[in-house]
């Protein structure tokens, strides 16, 4: 078994940089190392390469103008820039609408802004992780500076109706931002036909390097930069460009465009096969999120009565890389905020595992995972105080009530 290669099913955490992307970047470390702002040919060629990358991103997003693409250092920076800009540009508006299931890049910023005197409305989700549009509509008012709603959830893959929500916000004269870090490259989009004003993406989720992101900023949207300084990015994001990564991101966007169909057919089928295969063999397990409206690559399964980290460790031993909720939530003993928000009971929320595929995932790998998972779950359940001979014990809360709890 040891000669079998490890299986990477954690593509929502980060992805492998495509070899062609690495190839495209290399000359810009050594021969073409100039600063794009410089008045010599070292700089000029780099400037042209940046221009091309900007257009490649523009194409993937379906943006109307390439100047709407602002390169940043990561998805988190794009999120912060968008939300803080909306507040700075409209000091009289003191409310923010977001959701309870956002990535910490948005949630923790909003928590902080609350301490600064802003009112944050966090839209709730139902058991399938879906939003209530009536709750949303009722909150739209002249006091709201910005709505920030993720396009797709990183843990469950659940897709939110951002197009419709953006339209409602736009009609109400409210800025709409979406964290599309998980959606870009997996969901086809044509931003010029939408009412989305700002959008965040991150390179490392689509086979480009870590540490590069984009803020899409619709032309005409009022904006206040987060970083002021040099005139880079038309004064909207100062700092010498991360040229190599931007060039890599450009090519990665072009490739994502080419693989969009594959992602939504072959990858989606592999994901579906994985879900069926595991659920057919493992009792007391269920997929979470909105299963009919989900990213094509994402599967989140809750295994009842056992703990996620233990599953991860045994999976890792079997050469399978997965994650339990967001990479940021692991390390704490709290079940993921997304699972809590969906009302997944504690007995299951702690045992959720996210398996996220990519275009590199093979059918053979999926079959190996389907083989490997059931014995791991079985083993852990035999250790669990909530599990009897043939299944969960009756009234687990009463049967096992530790005195120190």
């Amino acid at each position: 078994m040891s000669e079998l290669k490890d299986i990477y099913l954690d593509n929502n955490a980060t992805t492998r940089v495509d070899p062609a992307v690495v190839e495209a970047m290399l000359p810009f470390f050594t021969e073409q190392f100039g600063n794009p702002s410089s008045m010599h040919s070292f700089g000029n060629k780099v400037g042209l390469a940046l221009k091309k990358a900007r257009q490649q991103v523009q194409n993937l997003l379906g943006a109307e103008h390439d100047s709407e693409i602002v390169f940043t250092s990561c998805g988190s920076e794009s999120d912060s820039t968008a939300i803080l800009s909306a507040l700075k540009a409209q000091p009289e508006r003191k409310e923010i609408i977001t959701t309870v299931v956002e990535h910490p890049a948005v949630l923790n910023l909003c928590d902080y802004l609350e301490t600064e005197g802003y009112t944050v409305h966090r839209l709730k989700v139902d058991k399938q992780g879906r939003l209530n549009m009536d709750e949303y509509k009722a909150l739209l008012s002249d006091n709201v500076a910005v709505v920030s709603v993720m396009w797709a959830n990183n843990e469950t893959g659940t897709i939110f109706p951002v197009l419709e929500m953006a339209e409602l916000a736009d009609e109400a004269g409210i800025l709409f931002h979406t964290d599309a870090v998980q959606a870009v490259g997996k969901i086809p989009m044509n931003l010029q036909d939408t009412s989305i004003h700002m959008l965040s993406l991150s390179g490392h989720k689509l086979h480009a390097p870590k540490g590069v992101g984009v803020l899409y900023l619709r032309r005409g949207v009022r904006f206040r930069p987060l970083l002021r300084g040099g005139h880079q990015e038309r004064g909207r994001r100062a700092g010498t460009e991360n040229v190599t990564s931007i060039i890599g991101l450009g090519l990665a966007c072009e490739q994502a465009m080419q693989h969009m169909e594959y992602e939504n057919t072959v990858v989606a089928q592999l994901r579906d096969r994985l879900q069926e295969g595991i659920l057919a063999k493992v009792p007391h397990a269920f997929a979470t999120g909105d299963l009919t409206n989900r990213l094509p690559n994402t599967l989140n399964i809750a295994f009842e009565y056992i703990e996620g980290e233990a599953i991860l460790l045994l999976l890792n031993k079997a050469g399978i890389a997965a994650s339990s909720g967001s990479a940021c939530t692991s390390g704490s003993l709290e079940p993921s905020h997304v699972m809590k928000a969906m009302g997944i009971p504690y007995t299951a929320a702690h045992g959720t595992i996210r398996l996220s595929l990519s275009r590199y995932t093979t059918a053979e790998e999926i079959e190996r995972v389907i083989e490997a998972v059931p014995p791991i779950i079985e083993k852990l359940r035999t250790l669990s105080p909530y599990w009897g001979e043939n299944g969960p014990i009756e009234n687990p809360e009463e049967a096992f009530a530790p005195v120190y709890a």
Partner: protein, 306 residues
């Protein structure tokens, strides 16, 4: 780095007519070292025929300033003085296959130096009162002074207004913060509060001839002649504008400021000749002096009881 045309690069590397002309009888100086660019144009003009026999330049400035100077001297050699004066800064830019918007002022400087040289030749005094403010909108090369003047003349209160009147902000929109700051100041000065909407209207404006600079009226026409001439130029533009669903009307003249009512499709249309900048360009060419065309609003007309 700038995206210079091959022509610009070529004229920069191999400037024509560099240096002062021997036995020059016309000298025009514009700019200063403190502005970062300065140009001296020397001409040898045949006093009998007014034909420019030779032209030379000395330029302190950037690559495109040198290329513009070189182009200008090539263009005017062999022309009469009157013909040469008809050359617009856009002509200079066209001769060079275009200049980046941020560099259009270099071609303006060339034109001004020519005016100064001709004034010198004719024994007139040429006063350079061309103010240049900080460049605000790089997409359309519109500066602070132009934006402020237009806001004041028309009581503008939104970025969209400023874009409609001057084009500034009609491109990538990254200068909107700068325009907002000017609006805030100007509106405060007139006792109002700037109240922006969060989401600007989708900018539809297309690039047009950049607004040129200003100068004081030349002395060769009487005030009445000048007014008639301005009216005549505008009348000449109207059929083309009307064909496009627009129109232009002269409202007032105040020194170098010409107030017009520009209506209909021309506000946003794509043809350079039908934009504010185009009308201004035409007037400058016909009058042989720098004028500034400032749009005049309906609202003000009502107030004036016109």
């Amino acid at each position: 780095m700038w995206d210079y045309s091959e022509k610009v690069t070529e004229h920069f590397y191999n400037p024509r007519n560099a240096g002062a002309v021997d036995q020059a009888n016309a000298v025009g100086d514009v700019g200063s070292i403190s502005c970062g660019d300065a140009l001296r144009l020397t001409l040898k003009v045949d006093p009998e025929t007014d034909v420019i026999l030779d032209a030379g330049f000395q330029t302190f400035g950037c690559g495109s300033a040198i290329a513009s100077s070189s182009a200008l001297t090539e263009m005017i050699k062999g022309m009469t003085v009157d013909e040469a004066l008809k050359i617009s800064n856009q002509d200079i830019a066209d001769y060079l296959d275009g200049l980046p918007p941020e560099k259009m002022h270099c071609s303006v400087m060339g034109r001004e130096a020519l005016q100064a040289a001709v004034a010198n030749y004719r024994g007139e005094e040429w006063v350079d009162d061309h103010e240049e403010g900080a460049l605000i909108c790089k997409c359309f090369a519109i500066d602070d002074v132009m934006i402020r003047d237009t806001i004041r003349a028309n009581n503008l209160s939104t970025v969209e207004d400023v874009t409609n009147y001057t084009k500034a902000g009609g491109g990538c929109s990254s200068c909107h913060e700068g325009i907002e700051n000017i609006l805030k100041e100007e509106m405060e000065a007139r006792g109002e509060v700037f109240m922006p909407g969060a989401i600007g209207k989708k900018a539809k404006a297309k690039p047009a001839a950049a607004a040129t600079a200003e100068a004081k009226p030349a002395g060769s026409m009487t005030a009445v002649q000048r007014i008639l001439k301005i009216q005549q130029v505008l009348e000449g533009l109207r059929p083309a504008l009307q064909a496009d669903g627009g129109d232009v009307e002269l409202m007032d003249i105040e020194g170098k400021n010409i107030y017009v009512k520009l209506v209909g499709a021309c506000n946003g249309c794509q043809m350079a000749a039908m934009t504010l900048g185009g009308v201004q360009q035409k007037l400058i060419e016909e009058l042989g002096e720098f004028v500034k065309v400032i749009p005049h609003t309906e609202r003000q007309l009502v107030e004036l009881g016109v």
